[in-house]
Symmetry: C2
Subunit: 336 residues, 2 copies
């Protein structure tokens, strides 16, 4: 809990209230939020548990109360312009969270409307990868770009696609599910109920599954032979690879090959200027970037070759989920 | 050659000149064109050979001369507002045709500029599938839709993607190459130099290859066992299937499965309201629509299931390539 906010970090305009928005990242376990000004500076970063409330209404009431205190701590020098929310299974058009498997609340939750009931300002919601893409466009490495894709490599694989300067929401608000494009229809079981989705290969949990496949299919010696499935993390695979563990390196090669294959497909759809890799597995740096780039070029149609930049997020040291949620509102205000 | 135009078909506005554009479809063998009014009515449909000119400049000069005669035939009752061109490997941003394998002229041809040199009006160019998508949006089944995809199933597989009401051109103008997404990196050789592209399976030539694969791998009796590879056409496969030929039916099933798989991937990218199938193979009707729809639903992420319409083009009886090229200009004029 951090109520005495770092208000001085906000862009100061003497004798004028600074416009701010609240960015909220609703996760399965915790909900993080911050007050964010137009330049992307975060203040009052805080988080509360997402679980343990009897209803979404109670949750929103509790979080809003905390936020009001945060805003009070900033004094009269700020004007709240909106509330931006990033959440799993969020529907931008309807302002809802719909059937999110990792949240306690089932069915359709009118989350944006609930927050708008507590603050007399616009509220908008989108999924975390879309929020990250808007954050990247407004404050990160995609500034000035009109066509790019953000890929988040966490437990799963999320994506946000920007085409012609606009986030692609699609007909129903759910566009940008590159993690659920299919690598192999007879492949690995996915949490979505199907088989062979990209995220079962290219994600923190995907590379772990690849390690165990390699432990079974190859005779490569590896320090990872000492680790149980439950105990293995993507960071351990990364550390082993940095120590030269051949099997761990092979796991990154496999991951990069399949990610590169499907990114080449993604390029054939929207022809982006750059693809940003972000999230836990992207922190492995060259271990994941190098094979992904090489295979993406290998699998890419000749007219696209050597055109598409594969980049780390330009927001690495910030809370991208919260900043992206805030950027959603700044972007709406910018577009009128 | 048809110089005495069907000018009376054009929307008539008494005592006012009717605004028209010229739509041009540059193909490997022939170049078709027509005069098109704002309601999508075609007049003066004609075509000239694409080959046999010493330079693109000579070609454009000859075609423009023919067009001027066509316009003259319509009298002073029309005002030319623009020239829209559909062509293979066309780059919308640059107004160019770039390294088109099926055209005589190599390298980069400034085609839009050449036509603008002959007519004092805006000229724009895009590839035929993109033109078909804009035609579908302005005059066909996609009227009122903001998110849809047009797939042309000809010798190859072309596609035009519309997201948020705008055609997706991508960073370089070449977006929408779903025919070159990869079904199997070790699969069939593609004209693009790679292996396993969707168009090597789902196209008029793709289904022919599938028939020959089935002739080799199965013992199904089939009238197609009497036909040489060179002699087989997609229409023959379609006719055999309609007569109940099991192998031909199986070929449609295979084609629909792989097309459905990659359309499910396409839905995961831009979440369209509808996908339009168009071109030679789409004329097979239910033979191709049914298995494609079934497999697309089978492979689709649950949040998209039963939402995406698979439709025939709403422009079936018209020259879609020419109408789409004209629509490109009408769309620009509409968007200011």
């Amino acid at each position: 809990m951090q109520l005495a906010c770092n208000s001085l970090c906000l862009t100061e305009r003497p004798h004028m209230a600074t416009d701010v928005v609240i960015g909220i990242d609703i996760g399965g376990t915790n909900t993080a939020y911050a007050v964010v000004d137009r330049s992307g500076t975060l203040a009052c970063e805080s988080s509360v548990p997402t679980r343990g409330y009897r209803s979404p209404e109670e949750f929103v009431a509790a979080v809003s109360e905390r936020m009001r205190e945060s805003l009070k701590g900033l004094g009269q020098s700020v004007t709240l312009r909106g509330v931006g929310i990033g959440a799993p299974n969020a529907n931008y058009y309807n302002g809802t969270i719909e059937f999110a498997p990792n949240l306690e609340w089932k069915g359709v939750i009118k989350m944006a409307g609930l927050f708008a009931g507590h603050f007399p300002v616009p509220a908008a919601i989108t999924n975390d990868a879309n929020a990250a893409a808007i954050g990247e466009m407004l404050f990160g490495g995609a500034r000035g770009m009109k066509d790019f894709i953000v890929i988040t490599l966490g437990t799963g694989l999320g994506s946000g696609i920007v085409a012609g300067g606009q986030l692609v929401y699609g007909h129903d608000g759910f566009a940008g599910e590159i993690g659920h494009t299919i690598v192999d229809p007879d492949g690995r079981q996915c949490g979505c109920g199907r088989r062979g989705c990209l995220e079962t290969y290219a994600s923190a949990s995907g590379i772990k599954r690849t390690v165990f496949e390699l432990l079974a299919t190859s005779n490569l010696p590896s320090e990872l032979r000492e680790v149980a499935f439950t105990g293995l993390t993507a960071a351990m695979v990364s550390d082993a690879a940095l120590r030269g563990d051949h099997l761990a390196l092979e796991a990154f090669e496999h991951t990069g090959r399949l990610l590169g294959l499907k990114l080449a497909d993604a390029v054939a759809h929207t022809s982006p200027e750059a693809i940003f890799l972000f999230g836990g597995l992207a922190n492995a740096g060259e271990l994941i970037f190098k094979p992904t780039q090489r295979w993406m070029e290998e699998y890419m149609l000749n007219i696209f070759k050597n055109k598409v930049k594969l980049l780390p997020s330009g927001l690495k040291d910030k809370n991208v989920a919260v900043l992206g949620a805030a950027a959603l509102i700044w972007n709406e205000l910018k577009n009128g």
